[in-house]
């Protein structure tokens, strides 16, 4: 049976029973989601790819401790957000990559749509980096991953009410951060 036909719970169960091949199914199912999350946090594509790899490496090593399959997605999001936000190395990469992205915008021959998209992404990353981490992570899960309040509360280990409050504050702060960017020369 192909991994597409198996639930997370079944793949986790098989992996923990010694079928290491089951991990490939989990990887392929969530690699794009993890990449999107990472891209919201770091400007460099290479850094985002590193975050994805590190996230799944930690997942591979820690999956044996995860007994419940349905909790896998929430747990993986949590690992990814921690990896993305946790290291000073990624911070340094982000700053370096912001410069790279700005330089790339000046390159001749770049399609205008791509340039605009990259610029939009860069501005979003920059604004998100000014938010407290909990607020930024909550907003990323809601706006980029489209997760419900219930799922976000599971990832962030807080109540749905807390998710609502965080989103309210995060949007208000993000609006200010974006406005401040527009005011920059």
């Amino acid at each position: 049976m192909a991994w597409q036909d198996l639930s997370d719970e079944e793949l986790v169960r098989r992996f923990n029973a010694g079928d290491t091949g089951a991990f490939e199914g989990l990887f392929r199912r969530y690699e794009v989601a993890m990449y999107r999350l990472a891209r919201a946090r770091v400007a460099s594509e290479d850094a985002a790819l590193d975050i994805v790899q590190e996230t799944f490496l930690k997942a591979y090593q820690g999956l044996g401790k995860l007994r419940s399959g349905p909790a896998f997605r929430a747990w993986l999001y949590r690992v990814c957000l921690n990896v993305a936000a946790g290291s000073a190395r990624s911070e340094a990469r982000r700053r370096r990559a912001e410069t790279d992205a700005a330089e790339r915008l000046e390159e001749v021959g770049e399609p205008i749509q791509t340039m605009l998209k990259q610029e939009g992404l860069r501005r979003l990353q920059s604004a998100l980096s000014r938010l407290p981490r909990l607020l930024a992570d909550t907003l990323i899960l809601r706006e980029i991953e489209g997760r419900s309040y219930s799922e976000i509360s599971e990832v962030m280990k807080c109540s749905e009410k807390a998710v609502e409050m965080r989103l309210f504050r995060a949007r208000r702060l993000l609006r200010r951060a974006m406005a401040a960017q527009e005011g920059m020369p």
């Binding site: 490939e24 799944f56 980029i144 609006r175």
Partner: protein, 157 residues
């Protein structure tokens, strides 16, 4: 519905987290309240800034690269884990064997052994302890060092 309550519900509204009844009530309020309508527009515009991030994707799977990394980084670790597992089993066995050897060594009787005596010392002790030698020494006919010399000569020294 008042503005305060409406503004409190706007985040849930744009996130699709309101039940049908609350949503319809808020819809009615927004239609009659320009301030809340503007607030809602702001929230929707804010959501649009995430579009470039939502559109991020991968042209190819990262699995082959990850699989290679897995083999590279976890193979030595697996080997170490196997060694650790082996050591975990062997250490108690070795400890038990060592304890058995110590106990057996302590329990088995061994003949008492005196330090070996040099031939000259044995001779001197024998000579001094002999009744004839005592007699000679006690009668002061021969001094102990003379007696030793005699013994030495008698033994071919």
């Amino acid at each position: 519905m008042r503005c305060g309550e409406a503004k409190r519900l706007l985040n849930r509204y744009v996130d699709g987290e309101l039940d049908l009844r609350a949503r319809e009530e808020l819809d009615r309020h927004i239609l009659s309240c320009p301030a809340c309508e503007a607030e809602l527009s702001d929230l929707r515009r804010m959501s649009e800034v995430f579009v470039p991030a939502r559109e991020q994707g991968l042209s190819w799977s990262l699995w082959p690269r990850f699989d290679a990394k897995l083999a590279r980084e976890l193979a030595p670790r697996r080997y170490m884990m196997q060694l650790e597992g082996l050591a975990r089993h062997l250490v108690p066995v070795a400890a038990v064997l060592l304890a058995i050897v110590v106990v057996l060594w302590a329990l088995v009787p061994r003949p008492a052994t005196a330090p070996p005596e040099l031939p000259g010392e044995y001779l001197v002790r024998t000579v001094f302890d002999s009744p004839d030698a005592r007699l000679l020494v006690d009668s002061q006919e021969v001094q102990p060092d003379e007696l030793l010399e005699l013994v030495f000569i008698a033994n071919g020294g």
